[in-house]
Every structure is written in structure tokens, then in C-alpha cells.
């Protein structure tokens, strides 16, 4: 009995060609980009960099040409993402739009919405955030209370979204809200909306500082915020199905095991200065995990390419990836000869300081460990 399918895939030559092209671009663009900034991985923000990515045609790589997309394969996109992450490029501005908001609009949006929204994303000019979580609704997303009431020509939205990464610098949010009151069927009565964040009336966005001192996520409050009818994505009531598909995109990429790779690189640099049998073995073990996760992640890309549902396998990779990424600072800590700090003299200690703080979020964001394991348990037939 096979519970999951991790068929092996080799990346096609065109993906490897693109990889080289991306590598050269990054070497040129980010030659002096400091290690500690690289370690922010896809949380690093730089709208100018995103615009350059857009000029290259590297946002919306797989999307239809009629919207400005590249109509290239998921394997090419996979190689592109790997290189960006390996280099620690500041892709945070456009990452969410490229990964999930665009694909959600493409799949469930109207032709008009596609034409209106996607070209801006593709140019690296239009950035998105995810409006799912609320103060009283985290893992239990179906319990959200933010609601949209029908009015002339559209809806009025009231409620609060929270942990909204990037809301303060984004143009749009895709919000999941209630369009009818909770009923017997918990998953009914929700819809997704395009929220124009430049429209300030009825909207308050307050950044929330995280434990590392960064202001990435936000509290977003809606008070009679008007959304026109044409900004609803999909049919009224289809929100839950759509958000489930969106989460599959959110969880399926290489960022789920590559976001602490800068620490591994610095750990290797450090171990080369002060070689020990113990460090060598620990590094070897991490590489064995890395190579295995990569195989599994490429297999998930293969599922996207063949249009089969990657949700279960993506949950497996995300869960294993988070364990692996969270071990990294623990292992680095065991080999450190000095103290980690953001103001330390070495890249190793700076990166270690950053990743040590960031890593605890890796098994929360995008679905917690417990929720992912619940999904896997369902795949095993236990639920």
C-alpha cells in the first residue's frame, strides 16, 4: 500500500539552462549582498529587485502569455525558485503574488480580473498578501468571523485579519471572509475577495513587530470597507474550496526546506576554518537530509507539472523540511565558538542569530506542524 507518491523526476535541460541564467544574474545583481540579509530568504524585501525580476520575465513564469506570463513549465519555475533561495535573494515583495495569489486568480478569477491584475504581478509592480488568519482563527480557519455584507454594487467588509505578512507594502490582499453566517456545514458560506489596499477608507493596517525586531506581519482592520462586486474571486460560497487549493500552492515550493540554507553555508565556512570530525559528520548528515528533501520537493513540482494534486505530498515535505530547518540552528549552536548576535563580527554568528530567532516560525507559518500531520494522518486513512 502506497500512501504517497514521490515519483522521481529529473529537471529538463531548459530548467538547467534557466538555472545558469538566473545564477549569472544573481551574481551580478547581488554580489555584495551581506550574508545576514541573504539569510532572510524569502522574507527579504526589495521592490526594485522584484521589478528587475519582472523585467527578466521571472514572475508568473508558468502563466499564460496572454496576461504577460512565460507559459513555461513548473520545472523551470522550480529551478528559478531554488536559485533565488540558495542565493538568499530578496524576493519577499513579489513572492506571495507569484506563488499563490496569481495562481488563485488564474484558476478561480474572471477573465477581466486576470487581465486587470496579472500583468502588474508579472512586471513585479503589484504585490499581494494573504488575508486568512484572524485573532480568534488560526489553525481553525473555518471559524473566521470577518464578513462581507451585500450592498449596492458590492460588499461592505467588517472584521480583523492578523499576521498578514507584507500588508503594509502590498497593493492587494486576497481575503477569505464570510458571505453568509456559520451553518451546520462549517466550510460553507465563505468567499474570497480582492482587497485593494490602496483604498484607505475603512482600512487600518498596523505592523506587528516580531521577536527578531522585524515588522513583517500586520493587523488589518476593516470597518465598512467597500469591495465592488467585480472583486469577488469565484462564486459566493466557494471560498473554502479555493483557499484549500491556494494552501496547496503555498506549501508546495522549495522554500519549505531551503529557507535556512544560508546557515548551512556559513556552518560549512566555519567548519573549514576549524575542522573537526564531529562537525564533518553533522554537516554530512544535514547534506543527506538536504539532498533527500530536494528529491521529494522536485517530485512535488512534478505533480504540479502533471496537474495532479500535490497537497498531501507537499504537507509531507513541509513537515520534514521544517524539522530539518529547525535542527540547523541547534546544530550550529553546538559548534559555535563565540556568541551569536546580529552585531557579531562574523557572518556565521550573524546568520546564526537571525535563523535561531526565525526558525521557530517555520513550523507555524503556512500551516502548523500539528495541522500538517493531521492532513498526513488523513492520507493514511486514520481520520
Amino acid at each position: 500500500m502506497q500512501y504517497f507518491n514521490f515519483d522521481p523526476y529529473s529537471l529538463p535541460p531548459e530548467a538547467e539552462e534557466l538555472r545558469q541564467e538566473v545564477r549569472e544574474f544573481l551574481h551580478k545583481e547581488l554580489a555584495d549582498y551581506p550574508a545576514v540579509l541573504r539569510s532572510r530568504s524569502w522574507a527579504g524585501l526589495d521592490p526594485d529587485f522584484s521589478r528587475k525580476m519582472g523585467e527578466k520575465g521571472w514572475i508568473g513564469l508558468t502563466w499564460p502569455k496572454k496576461y504577460g506570463g512565460g507559459e513555461r513549465s513548473f520545472f523551470e519555475r522550480y529551478a528559478l525558485l531554488e536559485e533565488l533561495l540558495a542565493y538568499g535573494a530578496p524576493v519577499g515583495s513579489h513572492w506571495i503574488a507569484d506563488r499563490q495569489s496569481g495562481p488563485t486568480i488564474l484558476r478561480f478569477g474572471t477573465e477581466e480580473q486576470c487581465h486587470r491584475i496579472l500583468p502588474g504581478i508579472i512586471k513585479g509592480e503589484s504585490f499581494f498578501c494573504i488575508g486568512m488568519s484572524e485573532p480568534d482563527s488560526g489553525s481553525d480557519l473555518a471559524s473566521i468571523r470577518t464578513k462581507a455584507d451585500k450592498v449596492d454594487g458590492g460588499y461592505l467588509i467588517n472584521g480583523t485579519k492578523v499576521w498578514t505578512t507584507g500588508a503594509h507594502h502590498c497593493d492587494w490582499m486576497i481575503a477569505l471572509v464570510r458571505t453568509s453566517p456559520p451553518s451546520e456545514n462549517r466550510h460553507a458560506g465563505m468567499s474570497q475577495f480582492l482587497i485593494n489596499l490602496k483604498q484607505t477608507k475603512g482600512l487600518t493596517i498596523d505592523p506587528i513587530q516580531n521577536l527578531a525586531g522585524e515588522k513583517h506581519f500586520n493587523m488589518v482592520v476593516f470597518e465598512d470597507f467597500f469591495v465592488p462586486e467585480e472583486d469577488r474571486i469565484g462564486a459566493e460560497g466557494d471560498g473554502w474550496q479555493q483557499v484549500t487549493a491556494e494552501l496547496a500552492f503555498e506549501r508546495s515550493g522549495p522554500e519549505r526546506y531551503m529557507s535556512s540554507i544560508q546557515l548551512l553555508i556559513e556552518l560549512i565556512r566555519e567548519a573549514k576554518l576549524d575542522p573537526s570530525k564531529k562537525a564533518q559528520e553533522q554537516i554530512g548528515r544535514l547534506i543527506a537530509h538536504l539532498a533527500t528533501l530536494r528529491r521529494m520537493s522536485i517530485s512535488v513540482a512534478g505533480k504540479l507539472e502533471s496537474h495532479s494534486n500535490p497537497a498531501l505530498e507537499a504537507s509531507v515535505v513541509k513537515d520534514l523540511g521544517a524539522i530539518y530547518e529547525q535542527e540547523m540552528p541547534e546544530i550550529a549552536h553546538r559548534f559555535a565558538r563565540t556568541e551569536a548576535s546580529m552585531t557579531a563580527a562574523t557572518d556565521f554568528e550573524q546568520v546564526r542569530a537571525y535563523i535561531t530567532q526565525a526558525a521557530v516560525s517555520f513550523s507555524l507559518r503556512g500551516g502548523t506542524r500539528e495541522i500538517l500531520r493531521g492532513i498526513i494522518a488523513r492520507g493514511l486513512g486514520l481520520r
Binding site: 522521481p8 540558495a86 559528520e281 553533522q282 554530512g284 533527500t292 528529491r295 509531507v316 494522518a377
Partner: protein, 351 residues
């Protein structure tokens, strides 16, 4: 899966499901050799999967052998199947036609040197799988491969945790029946790695069986008025186990696929083998621990089928290089690279 591989998979699955009963495994641990099964396996040509057709084999790929190795692990078959597959492969590669009967290979451990000079073999090989049941041994030396007859060396019996024979063979100037060069492109170390690769696949087979048995047990066993699997604590543990099992499967396939590429001369597959053995040996720890936890006391009995796999996992993860051995090997290789070359290097590896 190609046609040959599918046929192979179906053949072994049928053969092992029919014949590898609990009784047979218990008997084997009590030193009753499963003669009939051993012969059936030989007659099916499974042991010659890696031998070229012109030497009586099927000219299969490593990925074909993987199907067999995985089934050996899945069914905990108490026979030297992968050992014979490797021995026959090595002999054929050295230009020696594999003899009838059981042929295993030795040494199977790092840093055990056996020498071959003018057709004469000298040295000691410890923990040789099924040495006592072998009719012949393919001896691996820096100087080449030598075929020796069982009567021509002395043997001391030993065993692993799973009661599989692991014997000491002493060659005191043993005259070989035939000798030849190491198969082209191979070294003593890469042959050791082949052993690790086979164990990786066997372990994956055992892990898959254990996962299924554990899920089944979680659904069947009722406590507090509900199947165990309905309790969230159990679901979480089963999910963790399943994730590691999936990683094991991916890593094992990767190693065999790389070994096939290496055979075509494209790459050296030691890294993928090392990664697989490291990753899967670690999985073995997670999986055996969760499996015994869910099974409760019944799983701790000799009566229950579980231990045939878990005891093998505890043995196999040590054999042909433990996780720490191979992790160290990988680490040594990585530390020769510049830190910034890690990623570019990794992307040259086959997936």
C-alpha cells in the same frame, strides 16, 4: 516501472508472500535453513539480475535489483539474497562465471584488508553475511576479485541482532578457483557502498511494512471505546513516521538510480548511496520507536511479526557503514568544496 521490473516485482511478491511465513522466519532463527525457498529464488533467476545475459544472467539494472532488495526487507526474508546478487555481479564483472549454489562476498566491513597474490588469498573478513551457508565466496581485494570454495577457509559463527548469520572467515593462503580484476570503475570502497545501497533498500522495504502494520493496528485496536487511530496523539506519531518513511523511499530510489547512471559512466554514485544510507538509518530509529509504541506489549513479544523487521532495521542500519560513518563520508566530501559551492554542486547531482 518497466516491464522487466514489474515482472520481477510480481514474482518476488508472490514468492515471498507464499513462502516467507512466520514459521519459516522463526525456524531460520533457530538455524533451520529455508532450503526450498533458497532454491526457488535461484531458479527464478533473481540472483542473476545484475549478471549479463552472456553469463547466464538477465542483464538487469540496479533499479531492478532494488525491487528485489526492497521485497527482501519487506518480507524479512532470512536468506542471503542481496549478498548473492552482489557476489554474482562482482564475479561477472571480473570475468568469472558465477558458480551454482550460494555465493556471498567478503569483506563487508571498512578497513578489513584481504590480499590476493598469485591467485592466493590471505586475510580475515568478519561479520560476513551467511558465510556458513555459502558454497563459494567472492573475495574483494585491492588486487582483484577471487573466487574461493567454502572448504578452503576456516569459519567462526556469529550473528547480528536479527539472528542473521554474520560469520568470520579466515583465509590463510587460500588458493582461489579463479580470479580477475575488479569490475571496471569499481574500488573496494565502491563495492562496500553497493552493500550499503542494498541495505538502504532492504530497510525501506522493512519500514514500509512496519508503517502499514502500524496504521492497520491503529485502526484495529480499540481502547477507550475507539480505535487507537482516532486519538490525535497517535495520528501525529503515525504522520511523523509516514513522513520519514516517504523520505526513506525517495532516498533509496535515488541511490539506485544514481548507481545505474554510474554504470553508464556518467557519475560516481557514492554520494547518493551515502545520503540514502544516512537518511534511512536515521528513519529506522524513528520508525522502530513509533511502531513499538503503537503496538504496545504485544509488539514486544517474539510471537508478533513486528520484531522480524525492527530487529533487522537495528542491524542493517549498522551494516555497511552506519549513519555516522556515511554522514562523515559526505561531510568530508563537502568540506573539500568552498562553502559557496555547496548549492551549485548539489544541483549537479541526479534527482
Amino acid at each position: 516501472m518497466n516491464e522487466l521490473r514489474q515482472i520481477m516485482a510480481d514474482t518476488v511478491e508472490k514468492l515471498f508472500s507464499d513462502q516467507v511465513t512466520k514459521n519459516l522466519k522463526e525456524q531460520a532463527e533457530a538455524a533451520v535453513f529455508p532450503e526450498k525457498l533458497s532454491q526457488a529464488i535461484a531458479e527464478n533467476g533473481l540472483l542473476h539480475v545484475l549478471v549479463p545475459e552472456n553469463m547466464g544472467g538477465v542483464s538487469g539494472q540496479f533499479a531492478d535489483a532494488e525491487v528485489i532488495a526492497r521485497a527482501v526487507g519487506r518480507h524479512a526474508v532470512p536468506l542471503p539474497i542481496v549478498e548473492q546478487i552482489i557476489a554474482n555481479y562482482l564475479l561477472a564483472g571480473a570475468g568469472i562465471t558465477p558458480p551454482d549454489g550460494i555465493t556471498v562476498f567478503a569483506p563487508v566491513r571498512e578497513n578489513e584488508t584481504v590480499h590476493l597474490k598469485d591467485g592466493v588469498v590471505t586475510g580475515t573478513a568478519t561479520r560476513v553475511p551467511w558465510g556458513r551457508k555459502a558454497d563459494h565466496v567472492a573475495v574483494v581485494t585491492e588486487e582483484g576479485i577471487a573466487l574461493v570454495k567454502a572448504e578452503d577457509y576456516s569459519l567462526t559463527e556469529n550473528q547480528n541482532i536479527a539472528a542473521e548469520p554474520r560469520d568470520t572467515l579466515e583465509f590463510k593462503g587460500t588458493k582461489s578457483l579463479a580470479s580477475g580484476n575488479l569490475p571496471s570503475g569499481m574500488t573496494v570502497h565502491s563495492i562496500f557502498a553497493l552493500g550499503a545501497m542494498m541495505r538502504a533498500s532492504q530497510m525501506t522495504g522493512a519500514i514500509e511494512w512496519i508503517l502499514e502494520a502500524s496504521v492497520q493496528y491503529a485502526n484495529d485496536r480499540v481502547q477507550f471505546g475507539r480505535p487507537l487511530g482516532k486519538f490525535q496523539a497517535i495520528q501525529q506519531n503515525m504522520a511523523e513516521m509516514a513522513g520519514h518513511a516517504a523520505a526513506a523511499g525517495a532516498a533509496a530510489l535515488g541511490a539506485f538510480q544514481a548507481a545505474d547512471l554510474a554504470e553508464e559512466g556518467d557519475i560516481d554514485s557514492t554520494f547518493e548511496i551515502a545520503a540514502a544510507k544516512t537518511r534511512i538509518s536515521e528513519t529506522a530509529g524513528v520508525v522502530t520507536s513509533h511502531a513499538h509504541q503503537i503496538h504496545g506489549a504485544i509488539g514486544f513479544t517474539y510471537e508478533h511479526d513486528l520484531h522480524f523487521r525492527t530487529r533487522r532495521l537495528w542491524s542493517w542500519r549498522d551494516e555497511f557503514g552506519s549513519d555516522s560513518y556515511w554522514a562523515d563520508w559526505i561531510g568530508g566530501h563537502i568540506l573539500e568544496l568552498e562553502a559557496d559551492d555547496l548549492w551549485p554542486w548539489l544541483t549537479t547531482r541526479p534527482t
